[in-house]
């Protein structure tokens, strides 16, 4: 893992990618900081970090788009897969290299509150808390980008897909208030998820009879749940969005609350996407 990590980190600083990410991130962060703090005379830096989530949508694709697509383009992925490094080692090495670049950028932004501290009283504990949340949120976004870079065929498509995925994760919080609440909509929501799962299964299994049989069993299960425990399906979409939402958990950090469950959630979210990335590479290796 260490060798992949070192090589990947080196690549970031020997190619324009790492510098473009850092430059773009710091430019937009600097603009937000200037407008919200310097020119408004406000000492509330945590809310600036909160607004910076928007930057992720734009810059994370720059950071992650080439992680695996570049290997595929140069055909070095075959070399990498035949090397003595484990697949999880490759995925983690690449992921941690991207996270390191992100962390360095974040450390540079710490200059901002330091500048403010010369001119007003800062809530340091709250700022640290927000930074911790910001780091974990960024890492989760990078994990999504890592996975997409494995799925996508080219850097451009990886960038566009990552941007779309992050945009969706950001927008979903806003549409939460408008989603239907009825138990029927909850049941339909479960069905859609199951159909998506079955489609993935069918793609691998290539046996529509087993897929259909599994579908029928799951459909009966959903009907039973709907008939027997209808009340538990009420507001399911909204509750699921709220529980899975990356950005709503970050709100607590920017409010100044450091919660273990939020940290665990971000780590497990990242772990799940890295697991998906690894298992996809594994499949590719054997196919």
């Amino acid at each position: 893992m260490r060798a992949v990590y070192k090589k990947e980190l080196k690549t970031y600083f020997l190619t324009p990618g790492g510098y473009i990410f850092m430059g773009a991130f710091l430019l937009i962060a600097g603009l937000f900081f200037t407008l919200q703090n310097l020119f408004s005379g406000s000492s509330d830096y945590s809310s600036v970090l909160g607004s910076l989530i928007l930057i992720f949508l734009l810059v994370v694709p720059i950071l992650t788009m080439r992680l695996f697509t570049e290997e595929k383009r140069q055909k070095t992925d075959i070399l990498l897969l035949s090397s003595p490094v484990s697949i999880q080692g490759i995925v983690l090495g690449k992921f941690f290299a991207a996270v390191t670049v992100f962390l360095i950028t974040l450390i540079i932004t710490m200059l901002f509150p330091l500048l403010l501290s010369f001119h007003g009283r800062m809530d340091w504990a709250q700022i640290w808390g927000t930074y911790i949340g910001f780091f974990f949120l960024g890492s989760a976004f990078i994990a999504i980008g890592t996975y997409i870079s494995e799925v996508a065929e080219s850097q451009t498509s990886a960038a566009i897909l990552t941007f779309s995925a992050l945009l969706a994760s950001w927008i979903i919080d806003y549409i939460r208030s408008f989603v239907p609440m009825s138990p029927l909509s909850g049941a339909i929501f479960i069905l859609i998820l199951l159909i998506a799962g079955l489609a993935l299964f069918q793609r691998k299994a290539e046996d529509w009879r087993i897929t259909a049989a599994a579908g029928v069993v799951l459909l009966i299960g959903v009907i039973i749940v709907y008939a027997a425990a209808q009340e538990s399906l009420y507001g399911l979409i909204s509750k699921s969005i709220s529980w899975f939402s990356l950005t709503s958990r970050f709100q607590r950090f920017s409010m100044g609350i450091l919660r273990l469950d939020a940290v665990v959630y971000y780590i497990s979210f990242s772990a799940f996407f890295l697991y998906l990335t690894g298992s996809r590479i594994e499949n590719r290796r054997w196919s």
């Binding site: 900081f33 709250q126 709220s242 100044g256 273990l260 469950d261 497990s268």
Partner: protein, 481 residues
């Protein structure tokens, strides 16, 4: 029987492993949620219950249910954080209610939130505290300190959810209220004239009125007696009744205004409590304490807070009271040892007390008494051995009419907050839950335009462009290799 193909087996295994990983992660998350380990990093512990609330929750015996009106997944995180902490107490049960699905429940409590035509709807985001037959609605807007500017836009400057929720829980669980008798018969104001009634009732104060001429003594259930701007003096027998009330541990809030005739009996009552009423008007000269809205008039000013618990919340929230034509108070010549005199609101050293009220000059004259002058003082009985305040208390304010609503401006929020705090102090800790609202106010930066521009140049131009330039150099050099 047909054999299951390798692909199906592989797909099933792959799906099973993915589900197992997902379930494992969900379990880890649920366990982490169960641990409920969190740190409130805010400077003012915005989301942590105070010791007063914790103690109150530990003492209540009857179960209290808090209904939080919010659609699933659309809860307010800030309020939710605090409600969760209440729910961790053994005597509080939290239930989230979707307002659209439970109109019956809401209608039941809507009836108790007002009477007749005053009946109000309960907005989403509100909390209903219920215990036995008692209930109280805490509207969403009562969870925050808000003020309205001249354009009507709302400015949220404080978070008072704990204040409102704890008062509601204490009331529904114990039924305990602080009984306030407002004296009538001398053309006094009441809190109703100030528009304070509803808010005071939500803070567990039960307001009653009393005409002193019709009773032989202050009723037994009285905790606090309030006198607001009498137009003439109280008789000696009336002040005797008040002194007897204070002797048995009651508390007195007295708000005065300048009137033509002197008020020797009330003055004597105050003197008995170490307070001397100085007949004169406080005139402020410090530009920082004068108000442009009142044309910079020296008789209208924002007093300084003397650092008592009564004004702690006002200081924290950076709220300025406004006093107009206030009388002054000083220490009585003879000070009783068992009574502690406490300055609460004062004017600055640049102010003075205008004794000769026939003088029209807006500058200081010979007969004026130099500042600072007390505009509000408290006097509390104390245990001489321990030094702690025990028993009766008196609080005197040099202007009562400043608390009346101003035309076009309404009641001043800071003046109202002061009154609630003052009444809470008079009632004592065992009778009220005295939780201060948490300020959301942040001191603005003291930064010059030049500095701001230098920093802006650094963070917007120098650093990002510098990094991109380094990247460009690295890229060009590598290309040449």
């Amino acid at each position: 029987m047909k054999k299951i193909s390798f692909k199906v087996k592989h797909a099933a295994l792959s799906v099973a492993i993915s589900i197992a990983v997902l379930v494992g992660l969900v379990i880890i998350n649920l366990l982490a949620g169960e641990l409920d380990l969190k740190f409130d990093m805010t400077r003012r512990d915005l989301y942590t219950l105070t010791e007063e609330t914790r103690q109150m929750l530990a003492e209540i015996e009857q179960e209290v249910t808090l209904y939080y009106l919010a659609k699933p997944g659309q809860e307010n995180i800030t309020v939710g954080e605090l409600l969760e902490q209440y729910a961790s107490s053994k005597s509080v049960r939290l239930e989230q209610i979707d307002p659209d699905r439970n109109p019956g429940l809401i209608a039941r409590y809507t009836e108790t939130s007002g009477e007749g035509e005053d009946r109000k709807t309960i907005s989403t985001g509100s909390v209903i505290a219920v215990s036995g037959d008692r209930s109280r609605v805490i509207p969403y807007m009562d969870l925050y300190n808000v003020s309205y500017d001249n354009q009507g836009s709302v400015n949220v400057y404080g978070f008072k959810a704990e204040q409102s929720l704890s008062a509601a829980i204490q009331y529904v669980a114990t039924g305990q209220e602080v009984v306030i008798y407002q004296l009538l018969g001398h053309n006094e104001y009441t809190f109703e004239d100030f528009g304070y009634t509803e808010s005071l009732e939500k803070s567990n104060f039960k307001l009653k009125t009393l005409n002193m001429t019709t009773v032989s003594s202050i009723p037994e259930d009285a905790d606090i007696v309030v006198i607001l701007s009498p137009s003439w003096d109280y008789s000696a027998s009336e002040t005797d009744k008040l002194l007897a009330f204070l002797d048995r541990g009651g508390s007195l809030y007295i708000g005065l205004d300048l009137i033509q005739e002197k008020i020797p009996n009330l003055s004597a009552l105050l003197t008995a409590w170490n307070i001397r009423l100085d007949r004169g008007i406080i005139m402020e000269q410090d530009a920082d304490r004068l108000l442009s809205e009142f044309g910079g008039s020296p008789v209208v000013f924002s007093p300084l807070y003397a650092g008592t618990e009564i004004t702690g919340s006002l200081t924290e929230n950076n709220q300025n009271m406004v006093l107009a034509s206030s009388l002054g108070f000083s220490a009585a010549p003879i000070q009783k040892r068992n009574i502690e005199l406490i300055p609460i609101l004062t004017s600055t050293a640049k102010s003075w007390l205008r004794i000769d009220l026939n003088t029209a000059s807006e500058s200081r004259v010979m007969t004026d008494r130099p500042g600072p002058i007390n505009a509000a003082v408290g006097a509390a009985e104390k245990n001489i051995e321990t030094g702690f305040q025990e028993g009766a208390k008196v609080l005197a304010v040099g202007t009562a009419s400043s608390f009346a609503p101003l035309s076009g401006m309404g009641s001043l929020k800071a003046n109202y907050d002061f009154t609630v705090s003052a009444l809470g102090w008079l009632a004592g800790e065992d009778k009220t839950i005295n939780v201060q609202s948490r300020s959301l106010y942040r001191l603005p930066l003291q930064i010059s335009a030049a500095n701001a521009f230098v920093y802006a140049g650094l963070v917007v131009l120098v650093i990002p462009l510098g990094i991109i330039l380094v990247g460009l150099i690295v890229y060009i050099r590598r290309k040449r290799l």
